[in-house]
């Protein structure tokens, strides 16, 4: 296997995303009879970004800057209005852990369901089942229905399934801080191990210290545009920006 120094993971080319503002959901009759006016706005405008394999990218920006929209497009959950995106390999997003968990089914049944949701196949799940259970630390609870779990327990299970899914790109958000201290350490270790293996990590968070510690590239989004792209110094610029705007109170 030849290893190029900088092979691409995701290439984003001039992406825009336009949303229709809905104060009210559109109705079929309303649309037919032209009773509704639509207001539109751009969540992203002409954003271009090249992400390389093995990078740990932190995406920062104030609320409504387009961070989530960008990640959703990268993960394929929604589609851009214009522009192109190409992902090389399997993108798994942990925007919400445990998507598709069903409260009535047992942990075991949910592992299979959730594993399929995030793109693993059945044999793969069977093979990794023991390891998933072990990593989640749920023990015998795995045979109980999900409604008996605490929220921390379901998050642990969700995280455990996701990290076993062999992603090429892993998208994470705030919820990386799941479970108790012990599990948190375990999950961070796993994330670092991933990045050593050349898996690309994209992180979205308001938790700037965490980004500073864990990311080697920072992208700052503001009002649907990339305001800055670079190293750690971007975080300082961002903090200055927030202080000036008087919005610094929530960053510790």
């Amino acid at each position: 296997m030849k290893k190029k120094k900088k092979s691409k993971a995701i290439v984003i080319n001039k992406i825009s995303k336009e949303y229709v503002l809905h104060h009210q959901k559109p109705t079929f009759f309303g649309t037919i009879f032209g009773l509704e006016k639509r207001q539109r706005f751009f969540a992203l405008k002409d954003v271009s970004l090249k992400i390389y394999k093995g990078e740990k990218i932190g995406i920062i920006g104030s609320n409504g800057s387009g961070k989530t929209t960008l990640l959703k497009i990268a993960a394929g959950i929604t589609t851009q209005t214009s522009g192109k995106i190409k992902a090389y390999g399997k993108v798994v997003s942990l925007i919400e852990l445990g998507a598709g968990f069903h409260p009535e089914l047992t942990g075991r049944e949910n592992i299979f369901l959730n594993g399929l949701v995030i793109g693993m196949d059945k044999d793969e799940i069977k093979k990794k089942y023991d390891s998933i259970v072990e990593f989640s630390g749920l023990g015998d609870f795995i045979h109980s229905p999900l409604y008996t779990y605490s929220s921390g327990m379901s998050l642990r299970l969700g995280f455990s399934i996701a990290v076993h899914s062999n992603p090429d790109v892993l998208i994470l958000d705030e919820e990386i801080a799941v479970g108790d201290e012990k599990f948190r350490k375990k999950s961070m270790k796993k994330i670092n191990e991933f990045s050593r293996k050349g898996i690309t990590i994209i992180l979205v968070s308001h938790w700037l210290d965490y980004i500073r510690k864990n990311c080697n590239r920072i992208v700052w989004l503001e009002k649907g545009n990339i305001k800055a792209d670079g190293g750690e110094e971007i975080i300082d610029e961002y903090v200055d920006f927030l202080k000036k705007a008087g919005k610094y109170y929530y960053v510790i």
Binding site: T27, F28, T78, S93, E96, E104, L113, L116
Partner: protein
């Protein structure tokens, strides 16, 4: 190779959703699967009572006639009414993960198909009417599935953007029941309506299922089959096109 893997994943995923659908429905019911037999049975008794004793319909074995029609209708109406709001109901899944979303609709229909097959089996057991006509049952089932999947995909995709679709559908179903020859037979309706009733694909489907289960007579099969296939295929293709277009932006409307 890659396509084969994709197909396998699609099948695994759809089956897992179907299993979830079936399991979660009966997990907390004391008599479990008994309920799905009891429901149409009660329905048949009530409707049968009304039309047999108050309004006299002259149909041989009216209860048998009614039950075979109800089996097909219940499959359709349960699938359709549950499938239309499914993307909205499963929005927490759709907003968070990327997966073949059409599987949600298909799994609703497959779980009902599972019940329908048990229903057919019990029906054959109860009436003890086995005949050679049964070889037509797969055709009836195929037509029923084609139409149900097509129309469910179409309306569930529209319902994401236009939430009043769900209300329109529920209202439509109440009328649709009487527009389909379930409680009455086709020779009771005026000649002038003629082929018009076959614009409703369910008419022919109910007829052919009845023919195969309890040998009620059927005529002009080729032309009715042609009309049925044409309408069902148009709806099916339309459904796929609308789904393909809307699917990309489901997340925006949730």
């Amino acid at each position: 190779m890659k396509n084969k893997k994709k197909l396998k994943h699609w099948i695994d995923f759809t089956m897992a959703l179907t299993e979830r659908e079936i399991k979660s429905r009966y997990k907390h019911a004391a008599f479990g699967f008994l309920w799905m037999v009891l429901n149409p049975l009660f329905q048949m008794l009530i409707i049968g009572f009304v039309f047999q004793f108050f309004i006299k319909f002259e149909i041989d074995n009216y209860f048998e006639f009614l039950f075979s029609g109800l089996l097909a209708w219940n499959f359709f109406s349960l699938s359709f009414s549950k499938a239309v709001p499914i993307f909205v109901n499963e929005r927490y899944l759709i907003k968070k993960a990327i997966f073949p979303r059409e599987s949600l609709v298909i799994s609703v229909i497959l779980s009902n198909l599972f019940h329908l097959l048990i229903g057919f089996f019990l029906f054959a057991l109860l009436t003890m009417s086995f005949s050679f006509n049964m070889i037509w049952l797969p055709l009836g089932l195929f037509l029923l599935l084609l139409f149900t999947i097509g129309i469910s995909i179409l309306f569930s995709s529209l319902n994401v953007k236009y939430r009043d679709i769900n209300f329109i559908v529920q209202a439509m179903l109440a009328l649709w029941f009487y527009a389909t020859p379930i409680v009455y037979s086709l020779d009771m309706i005026p000649e002038s309506l003629g082929m018009l009733i076959y614009l409703n694909p369910l008419s022919f489907i109910v007829e052919i299922i009845r023919f195969s289960l309890s040998s009620y007579p059927i005529s002009d099969v080729p032309i009715k089959l042609g009309v049925n296939l044409l309408i069902s295929s148009i709806i099916f293709i339309l459904g796929l096109v609308v789904f393909k277009n809307e699917n990309k932006n489901f997340d925006d409307w949730m």
